[in-house]
């Protein structure tokens, strides 16, 4: 394995850690939403949220397959990065809409704050994932430009 390949793998390793952490944050938010649904009768579009979870988990599977493949294609990585960026955007909008629409039903502020904290962690982890992927994509482009990474 060349130095570039090894460095790329290291970046992907970090990216994977952030992605799996983002999945845990997503599930934390989902758990709190379900609890609010039962206790405070707050309605949300379950279909949409579970579809997002599907995309997120499928992305993790695809990411592992890319990581295990011997040659890491930059196209695949940038596509994956774009789809996860979209997941982040949709999820953020959806959660904020749910909280704003049910602000009177959410009795204690603690739950709302807890959801917002998990959402922030999720956004941060996806942002860090993107950061590592971008660094990984930069390795090859910098080498073709003749600049040192």
């Amino acid at each position: 394995m060349s130095v570039v390949e090894r460095d790329k793998k290291n970046e992907l390793h970090c990216a994977y850690k952030h992605l799996s952490a983002a999945r845990i944050n997503f599930l934390e938010v989902l758990e709190k939403l379900e609890r609010l649904n039962i206790e405070n009768n707050i309605e949300f579009d379950k279909n949409k949220i579970y579809k997002l979870l599907y995309v997120l988990e499928k992305s993790i599977v695809v990411f592992i397959k890319i990581y295990l493949s011997e040659d890491i294609k930059n196209e695949d990585l940038s596509k994956l990065c774009n789809s996860l960026r979209a997941v982040r955007g949709i999820f953020e909008k959806e959660i904020l809409d749910i909280i704003i629409n049910n602000i009177d039903k959410i009795g204690d502020d603690i739950m709302e704050n807890a959801i917002m904290l998990d959402l922030t962690d999720f956004i941060g982890n996806i942002a860090n994932f993107e950061n590592h992927i971008l660094r990984c994509l930069n390795y090859e482009s910098n080498i073709s430009n003749g600049t040192k990474v």
Binding site: K51, N82, A86
Partner: protein
Amino acid sequence: MILKKKKKKSNFEDCNDNCLEESSFNLDNLITSISVMDTNINIKKKKKKRDVL
């Protein structure tokens, strides 16, 4: 001489990505694209295995 004030460029003007378009936030499109990616990677894997054999 009257100096004309330069119009400030919006940050989004330079963005050529379609990140602000509605289509990029379509959830069903997202599901199809990730499934297509998965199948493409599986096909590549199978091809590699065949080449090795």
